[in-house]
């Protein structure tokens, strides 16, 4: 392999690292899509640094591997910030909101869901979280609660205690004080990943997922090999994990 093509490959790798993604129509990504050896080199570089390259419909993106990476992400950054004990439940709420949102917009790439064309308001997402917790609550008894890997009761109580949003405040920041503040926390995480857009209408945020988010969901969760890998990891953690005895 020539020195020149290694140069091109590392150029693409570092551009991806800097920008998280490159548009498919961008000339910069052309050598990657057309030259098999450059593609392979970029993928090797990625694998060695604990990342992977996703070739999506809209763009080529770089994400970290599920088992962790050389690099930090904004998600791990946030996890550090919430590391103290009393905030743990709050961060679990952020995790839950992200999960619920992704499950909510998850659909086949082939059909455009309403969440994609019309957007979803924060109000609606808060309502969905409410409904999810209510449904969980009904099934929860002493036996089933034991199965939970996270203190779910605590989580629900914390959520129920919060107001939807602060009275009289129009501009709100990401905060753990209110339900909408927590939702904003979760959504800002994805917004900084450039995978969704937040619009404001009538002092209310509306979430529009970008094609890139669907690409990530599609390539990670709908991709059987990668999906099995995640499941495998989950299994391994469970064997070693603290609640393995349950």
């Amino acid at each position: 392999m020539s020195l020149e093509s290694i140069g091109t490959a590392s150029d693409i790798y570092f551009t991806l690292l800097r920008n998280k993604m490159i548009d498919r129509d961008d000339d910069k990504i052309k050598p990657y899509l057309e030259d098999a050896s450059i593609r392979e080199t970029v993928n090797v570089l990625a694998r060695k640094s604990g990342t992977q390259i996703l070739e999506g419909v809209a763009s080529v993106q770089m994400v970290v591997l599920p088992e962790g990476s050389l690099y930090a992400t904004s998600f791990t950054h946030l996890r550090e910030r919430f590391s103290s004990f009393q905030n743990k439940t709050e961060f679990n709420l952020v995790r839950f909101i992200l999960m619920i949102y992704i499950a909510e917009i998850d659909s086949s790439l082939l059909t455009r869901s309403l969440a994609e064309t019309d957007g979803m308001s924060f109000e609606k997402l808060v309502l969905t979280v409410d409904e999810t917790f209510q449904a969980l609550d009904e099934n929860l008894n002493e036996n089933t609660e034991k199965n939970w890997g996270i203190p779910i009761k605590q989580l629900m109580e914390l959520w129920y205690l919060k107001d939807p949003k602060e009275d009289g405040k129009e501009n709100f920041n990401p905060s753990t004080k209110t339900k909408q503040g927590l939702v904003l926390y979760a959504m800002r995480l994805l917004e900084s990943e450039k995978v969704l857009r937040l619009f404001k209408e009538d002092e209310e945020y509306i979430i529009f997922p970008k094609e890139e988010l669907y690409d990530r969901i599609e390539q990670i969760f709908h991709h059987s090999e990668r999906f099995q890998h995640i499941k495998q990891l989950v299994k391994e953690i469970r064997k070693e994990g603290p609640h393995a005895s349950n």
Partner: protein, 491 residues
């Protein structure tokens, strides 16, 4: 026994009619407004329709509110702000507005012998502006309301519509031609949207789309057949317009308007042609690269396999949740420091952060501190004669004001504000403005409604008298400003 013919195309019929049946239903506006709601809504749709035709971006929710306000004034009826908000929410969403639900219409499916649901909206997001802001445009359903109400057959192909326009121009019926070319433009724009949709599907599901090869060839043949004809028709329209004889004053206006519109439509036709060719290029690219064809087959499902089976049953722990979630994130680019300087840099960063925080706090404080409250009505008393002579002469010189020294400081400062603003364009909003100059004009309009029409959409700007050196006000020296008023269009 029912005639079997009634089921012929029954679903389509009902689906087309549902948006009309439900138009404005469920909107409770009180007895005073209810009889007018259909008029208001139809006017609102028409205004959005024409704004879209004219490439006007003023179609955000705030604009919709302003349009409704204007319509209600025009109709000379009373409505509160809440009622106006209710009207706009009611055309945008069904039910509670912050949940943004679509409208649901029921129709009877004669094959399945059961009622089915159809979801639709009157106004949908205009994807052209999705990068920047939320702009609305008419949905297919509301477009058909607009067209139906003019008895224009939607199915008429573009070439026929062009011939119709040509006929109308030939007969000298320019006003009707102008309206027909609007229909033509909408159809071409719809074709552009269709092409964009096709590209979207092609990218996401190339296999399925390309399999329908027969449909493909037909599509292409139709397009190529129409291509030259369309271009010729546009040429014909232009030539006819140029040759028009014995044009009276009224028709002259229509003719120039028609010329603009023909050029605009022609431009969109070009855009459409380009889009079709781009899609052809993409098609052959996919055919050439069979790997893309394999693409995106759905194999696993996040919602069912992970979310419902694992997360909602609660078997996942924090670490396990993180494995799932963190794989969605891109790495953050690390910051590289030379090893020795890490410690120095760290300190600097901390200091800088603190300073930055202080700066940010200062800025926030400034933003939140309320604007000094002026007594606008008092200031307006000084300015009212100025605006009167401004409307008469088109300009007012600061040096001509004799009793300037009896003015308050705030009132005099507005002269300077007009100068710093460079161009002030006034539109009547009935609300408070952030800009002091606009607030002044608004106050004057509020005090005396006769100014509302005269000052609407006017542009204010300043110049400086060259032959005077300065004007004195209580020991202060002010440049000899001249305030001008101009039409916004003439600028």
């Amino acid at each position: 026994m029912l005639n079997p013919e009634i089921w012929d195309g029954y679903q389509e019929r009902k689906q087309r009619l549902n948006p009309i049946f439900q138009f404005g239903e469920g909107m409770v506006l009180g007895e005073a407004l209810n009889p007018y709601k259909h008029d208001i809504l139809l006017m609102l749709l028409l205004e959005v329709f024409y704004r879209e035709l004219k490439d006007d971006e003023g179609r955000t929710k705030d604009d919709l509110l302003l349009i409704t306000q204007e319509i209600i004034e025009k109709l000379d009826i009373e409505a509160t702000d809440q009622q106006i908000a209710r009207i706009v929410d009611g055309i945008l969403f069904s039910g509670q507005s912050n949940l943004r639900q679509p409208f649901i219409g029921k129709y009877f499916d004669s094959n399945k012998k059961a009622f089915q649901e159809q979801k639709y909206r009157y106004l949908v997001n205009d994807t052209n502006f999705r990068q920047k802001k939320l702009v609305y445009k008419l949905s297919d359903q509301s477009q058909s309301i607009i067209f139906m109400s003019r008895e224009v057959l939607d199915e008429l192909p573009i070439e026929f519509e062009q011939l119709y326009v040509i006929q109308l121009i030939r007969k000298g019926n320019l006003n009707s031609a102008l309206k027909s070319i609007d229909v033509l433009l909408t159809k071409i724009k719809n074709d552009i949207y269709k092409e964009e949709d096709y590209r979207f599907n092609l990218k996401r599901d190339p296999k399925n789309v390309l399999y329908n090869a027969r449909q493909q060839t037909k599509r292409r043949e139709d397009f190529e057949k129409g291509l030259t004809e369309r271009k010729d028709n546009f040429e014909k329209m232009r030539r006819l317009l140029e040759k028009l004889e014995n044009v009276n004053e009224k028709n002259k206006f229509y003719a120039s308007e028609l010329e603009i519109r023909i050029n605009q439509t022609y431009k969109y036709n070009e855009i459409f042609t380009n889009k079709v060719y781009e899609n052809h290029a993409l098609e052959s690219k996919i055919r050439k690269n069979p790997k893309m064809l394999l693409g995106y087959k759905k194999r696993k499902n996040f919602k069912e396999e992970l979310y419902e089976n694992n997360i909602l049953t609660g078997v996942l722990s924090e670490e396990e949740l993180d494995v799932v979630l963190s794989s969605l994130f891109s790495p953050k680019q690390p910051i590289y420091f030379p090893f020795e300087s890490i410690f120095i840099e760290q300190e600097l960063v901390v200091e800088r952060d603190e300073k930055l925080e202080m700066l940010v706090e200062d800025e926030e404080n400034q933003e939140h501190s309320p604007r000094p409250k002026f007594d606008w009505e008092k200031i307006a008393l000084y300015w009212k004669p100025i605006f009167e002579s401004l409307l008469e002469d088109g300009l007012v010189k600061l040096s001509d004001i004799e009793d300037l020294n009896s003015w308050t400081k705030e009132a005099v400062e507005l002269w300077v504000m007009f100068n710093t603003n460079k161009e002030t364009i006034f539109t009547n909003t009935f609300k408070n403005h952030k800009d002091d100059c606009l607030q002044l004009i608004q106050t004057i309009v509020n005090l005396d409604k006769k100014y509302a029409d005269k000052l609407q959409n006017k542009l204010f700007c300043t110049s400086v008298e060259s032959d005077k050196s300065y004007v004195q006000y209580k020991g202060l020296i002010i440049s000899p400003f001249v305030l001008h008023i101009k039409d916004k269009e003439g600028w």
